[in-house]
């Protein structure tokens, strides 16, 4: 629909601006709150313009943590979250790539059986298998470790399925050309398949990184040690800070910080992301 009637342009812009405002306003409030002192945030009316405490609050939150509640500094939690999200994203991609490679390019008994077994795990997210998974992780002594945080979340049917579809679009002649060139299966995988799936890997990385970063329930279960807390669960802990009124300026600063890495990843990888989801030419 390409029309050039001014009224249509006006209305469509109005709708879009309204939509953006609805989404952006809470984020703006978060930002404003993170720039004031704690005392200002409990007065009415709430401020709508930024204050001058941004860098103080940033330093306080990142390195000292919530004074009264004894919560660890957010800097720690950011690092934990980052490690967990990276392990989940990279682990998922690595495992899915390899299993899709096995399913598409090798003939072995019960090949489709295995494929469907992987597929069925779509119906079993962590929330469903939370007790047995916790049991396994606990028995393996992985509570309060990065492994415990990430490994149970790594298996991914979606990613395996996606890479399978990607591999199916790669022409057989490429495999044959590689065989004539003397490339063995692993060489073909590393030299041809992985580079050709580059954009898909990037797109998946964006999705999975955010998925990993936003994990809440699972980290809450397997971490009891404060040094292993992640940012997302950290925010919740701050709200429960004892008997005093919540330190909104720090909580909002933490939220802002928690939002930053996913936003950064999306902006930074936007081009690859779109190409990975739309590109069909191989």
């Amino acid at each position: 629909m390409i029309e050039h009637r001014p009224i249509v342009t006006f209305v469509s812009h109005l709708v879009l601006i309204f939509g953006v405002a609805i989404i952006a306003f809470p984020i703006w409030i978060t930002f404003v709150a993170s720039t004031h002192e704690a005392a200002r945030m409990v007065q009415i009316p709430l401020p709508l313009l930024p204050g001058d405490q941004f860098f103080n609050n940033l330093e306080l939150t990142l390195f000292k943590g919530l004074e009264g509640a004894g919560a660890p500094p957010v800097g720690f939690m950011m690092v934990n979250s980052l490690i967990m999200a990276m392990m989940i994203a990279v682990g998922k991609i690595a495992i899915s790539l390899i299993s899709a490679f096995a399913i598409v390019y090798f003939k072995f008994p019960f090949r489709m059986g295995f494929f469907w077994m992987i597929f069925i795990t779509l119906m079993l997210p962590v929330e469903v298998r939370i007790l047995p998974t916790f049991e396994v992780v606990a028995n393996l002594g992985m509570l309060n470790t990065y492994w415990g945080l990430s490994v149970p979340l790594i298996a991914s049917a979606t990613a395996t399925f996606m890479f399978r579809q990607v591999f199916l679009t790669i022409p057989d002649e490429l495999l044959e050309a590689a065989r004539i060139d003397g490339a063995g299966p692993m060489r073909f995988f590393v030299d041809i398949l992985v580079p050709l799936s580059r954009t898909n890997i990037a797109a998946l990385f964006v999705i999975l990184f955010i998925y990993g970063w936003n994990q809440y329930l699972w980290p809450l279960l397997v971490t009891t040690d404060q040094s292993m807390y992640t940012v997302v669960m950290g925010i919740k802990q701050m709200l429960e800070a004892a008997e005093q009124s919540p330190d909104w300026h720090q909580i909002m600063m933490t939220s802002l910080l928690a939002m930053f890495p996913p936003v950064f990843v999306v902006i930074f990888m936007q081009r690859l992301f779109v190409r990975g989801l739309t590109e069909t030419e191989k």
Binding site: E176, A177, A178, I180
Partner: protein
């Protein structure tokens, strides 16, 4: 450099046999073409030589080495694919160098070989580009470069020109021929295009339904086709086939509709036998002295510039026949032409099994 021996090579998928007992000895340095309609098994045969398909039965050897159980990379071959199969994420240089890298050829040697090959194929200017940035013809050259750079003992071509436009195809055809003559490497070329087959091959194998119809040089196939299939497949426009009968005395063929043409030899042992007569359009010509014996009622005339194609009915209510006359002729629809043909250009086939009949 190598010879290729195929010894009773067969292929079947489960119960379905697609190639039956193919025997062929391809000489060192020879350029042979496997030609046939789609689905005749020609690509399968090539892929069996390449090692991309298992040989169900029989034996294939390259340079006195039985290769049935060797991986493609161990057979010392290079292959050019129909859709080029260039690695899309690698530069032209890396595409050509990839096989050598895997083989462990030293870097400076790779560079020397790639550059020399690029020079032969005139693709030196775009070694750094990716295949995506190249035109069809350029990609085709790169695909050939990738084959040449490996210095194999056998080249295999799987319909390499069929993705190119007509003009480029003619040009690349000529280049492939020159290149093969220059390098002198044994080559097997698969195509469904009989013109390509005729112009490129020292020898041709015509395949039909998994059986070899005929082996021979292009001229042999053109002049003495062993079966009606080969006769119809080779030559363009394709040969006319007419049902007819050999006369009582075995010296003429009689066509339905009253036309008769004389035979080169005495076919009296086949007297009165129904036959399938094949005549190439280019061998027929207008001959007023033959007006009593033949008539051709013109239906449609096509002017090609160099030639004129005259489609019509041979004899009174007889079969369709196309005549190719050289130059531009003014012939109107409904005109009746007397035709004749040099008797030695007339081919007789058994109407039942399509085999060539000899006197």
């Amino acid at each position: 450099m190598a010879e290729i021996h195929l010894n009773k090579v067969s292929k079947s998928y489960g119960d379905v046999a697609v190639l039956h007992d193919i025997d062929w000895h391809i000489r060192d340095g020879e350029f042979v073409v496997i030609v046939g309609p789609s689905g005749c098994g020609k690509s399968t045969l090539l892929r069996m030589i390449a090692g991309l398909e298992k040989i169900t039965q029989g034996e294939a050897s390259i340079g006195n080495r039985v290769v049935n159980d060797l991986e493609p990379a161990e057979r010392d071959i290079a292959m050019v694919f129909q859709n080029y199969a260039l690695y899309p994420h690698m530069s032209v240089y890396n595409n050509m160098a990839y096989g050598l890298k895997i083989k462990g050829v030293p870097k400076d040697e790779i560079e020397r070989r790639v550059n020399r090959t690029a020079e032969i194929l005139e693709i030196g200017d775009y070694l750094k580009r990716s295949p995506r940035q190249l035109s069809g013809g350029q990609r085709q050259r790169v695909a050939m470069g990738r084959a040449i750079v490996r210095e194999p003992s056998v080249f295999l071509f799987d319909e390499p020109l069929s993705n190119l436009d007509a003009k480029l195809r003619v040009q690349m055809r000529l280049e492939i021929k020159k290149l093969q003559e220059r390098l002198g490497i044994t080559s097997v070329y698969v195509t469904h295009d009989q013109v390509e087959a005729m112009t490129l091959g020292h020898r041709l194998m015509v395949l039909n339904g998994g059986h070899v119809e005929q082996l021979g040089t292009p001229i042999e196939l053109y002049e003495r086709p062993a079966t009606a299939f080969v006769a119809g497949f080779i030559g363009s426009p394709s040969m006319n086939f007419l049902d007819a009968k050999i006369s009582e005395d075995g010296k003429e063929v009689e066509f339905p509709g009253g036309n008769t043409l004389s035979l080169a030899q005495d076919f009296s042992k086949h007297a009165n036998r129904p036959v399938n007569v094949g005549m190439r359009p280019e061998h027929l010509h207008v001959d007023d002295s033959n007006a009593e014996k033949t008539s051709h009622t013109v239906d449609v005339v096509e002017h090609l510039g160099a030639d004129t194609l005259v489609h019509g009915t041979f004899g009174n209510g007889g079969s369709d026949l196309t005549v190719r006359l050289s130059g531009i002729r003014t012939i109107g629809q409904g005109e009746v032409l007397p035709l004749s043909i040099d008797p030695k250009n007339m081919h007789l086939f058994d109407p039942d099994d399509g085999r060539r009949l000899e006197a």
